[in-house]
């Protein structure tokens, strides 16, 4: 039996409100790496962890998962689970080779021993940064792609508004919409990020929602209304945006980061407009579209290689940083996709 010292991030009690650093516990444990007797086993050395807002679902005792395994509340105590990138150290699984790189659902720990992995893909293209598989080449990229291409029914020339536009999914949703010749505006939480949206990511306009009344800002940047709202926020933002939607507008409900932690959710009063404005609102979760991944990859890899997409990562070093970084995304601290780099030498 070979034991490895294994640094881990645990959830030991459910989170109230927005996550805080001290909601998580760092622990050194010893992990038995033996795959003997495990037919479809993998020993993974974890490299990058994605900080995805949707992980917050699992940190409450309320089960909003509707039987989606990956959204079910963590059992306590639990090593945090999320999307990430790893190297296969040992394998008794016919689909995964030792020495290869994979992305999918792994633990927030240095090493994971996984039997019968539920969501794990072998990485084929390694000429791009491996960390991209924790974002643009992983679930975040696919989410932005599916939301814009499949849910939004977007048409050339339409006006698209993206909230949390400088986040890992928002910055891609905006750029994908630009590629379809839309007029794209974004909102974010700092002037620095507004500048990045406008001058680096190609947004047509952007504003700092903390500096300005949302209604006034939307009137200014989308004076004729919004065709597609890529919704990442929920609450009062959504309520106001409904008033600015055009007839036949679509609200692509990617997530509602403002609402996870609230016991009493914000009450949306403007749904009454859905009928006269004939608005469609639609939620979607990655379980719907994971099968589209190969198609997405074929589409996006050349765009990355040809520098047709600007992708931003906010990479923090060391597993120790994970609690602060994950908590930070609920306050807009990240610029681009928040990723933890566990092992500096890969």
């Amino acid at each position: 039996m070979v034991l490895l010292t294994n640094k881990q991030v645990l959830l030991t009690s459910y989170v109230e409100g927005n996550p805080r650093e001290d909601d998580f516990e760092l622990k050194i444990s010893y992990t038995n790496t033996t795959l003997q007797g495990k037919n479809n086993g993998l020993l993974l050395k974890n490299l990058y962890l994605a900080c995805d807002p949707a992980m917050r679902y699992r940190m409450s005792s309320d089960d909003h998962s509707d039987n989606i395994d990956l959204l079910k509340p963590f059992k306590l105590p639990s090593v945090i689970e999320g999307f990430g990138v790893a190297k296969v150290m040992e394998s008794t699984h016919p689909d995964f080779e030792e020495g290869s790189y994979v992305w999918g659902v792994i633990g927030w720990e240095e090493y994971s021993v996984i039997e019968n992995p539920r969501v794990l893909f072998t990485i084929k293209y390694t000429d791009v940064p491996l960390s991209y598989y924790a974002g643009i080449l992983g679930i975040g990229g696919l989410t932005a792609y599916f939301g814009i291409k499949n849910i939004s029914s977007i048409k050339e020339g339409e006006v698209v508004y993206v909230s949390t536009a400088a986040g890992g999914v928002g910055l891609l949703a905006g750029q994908f919409a630009k590629m379809m010749n839309c007029y794209v505006v974004g909102s974010t939480s700092t002037d620095e990020k507004v500048d990045i949206l406008k001058n680096k990511l190609g947004f047509d306009d952007a504003f700092n929602y903390k500096r300005e009344d949302l209604g006034e800002a939307l009137k200014r940047v989308c004076p004729n209304g919004i065709d597609v709202y890529f919704e990442n926020v929920g609450g009062a933002t959504l309520d106001e945006v409904i008033l600015h939607m055009k007839c036949h507008g679509r609200i692509v409900v990617c997530g509602m980061i403002s609402q996870y932690g609230l016991k009493e959710k914000y009450g949306i009063q403007n749904l009454f407009h859905l009928t006269p404005k004939r608005i469609r609102m639609e939620g979607f979760a990655d379980i719907n579209y994971r099968k589209l991944y190969p198609q997405y990859l074929q589409w996006v890899i050349p765009l990355i290689r040809d520098n047709k997409i600007v992708y931003l990562q906010d990479i923090a070093k060391g597993l120790e940083s994970a609690p602060a970084v994950f908590s930070g995304i609920f306050h807009g601290k990240n610029i681009g996709k928040a990723v933890i780099n566990i092992v500096a030498d890969e």
Copy 2:
């Protein structure tokens, strides 16, 4: 110049809350019937008036119309306008013949003189009751049809819940869903109407929402959840129904009768579930699908002739009854489509 005494129902001030009888004014006026000089003029003798909840939009000063002409606030004072059935007494319009029957937008008055009618159709089939064109063969029927056939993406065997199920649109939506081999449940406001839904209209189950907690009732009648919610109510009903929706459920937002009159609309807290449950909510208004009318008519006329649909009308006599009947639909007083029969002898 020929003057006709013309009884009219007017709106002289905007309505607060639910409409009340005394929000309307009955008046005898004199209408000049001369069509001379009017190239596309019609003198109509009005026969049946549909009491449609959506007319409430026009009775507030708040403009929710989003440029839909037929939802714009009435100018004050105004003869009420709505869908109805009429006989063409005189015509200088090439599309309409004297002596023919029409349905479309007319005034709540005995006679209407209309130039360049916006929405008016000649009635082809007169072997069915003329009053049907104020409901099942008019905008109400088309609304139920379009909601179920086009918006709901309904599939055989699915569970469909219809609120205000004994109303003019609800009773058709439920029966159209039954024709697609769905399991259909409805809610309504009296035990008598529950009985009608179950024993006359072919609903699989039904309940009186005034007698029972909605959550408990839905657990009982749809224990495995709802695939399609045909939404006519809004507010607290919608908030609760979201919790009972299945994954990939669709909410067909036909209207929200509980919300028209509220200055402070009810705040919906459960939209957070749209993403994990991957729910679609979609509003629609008749302006979208008026062009489908001929297709709908071809489909529904044989069903009516062959008694394959049970259609219920709640016909009140005399224009004087209109204010009370219209107000009554906001309290579930009608059984079936509420219609005013202006002229008893047609």
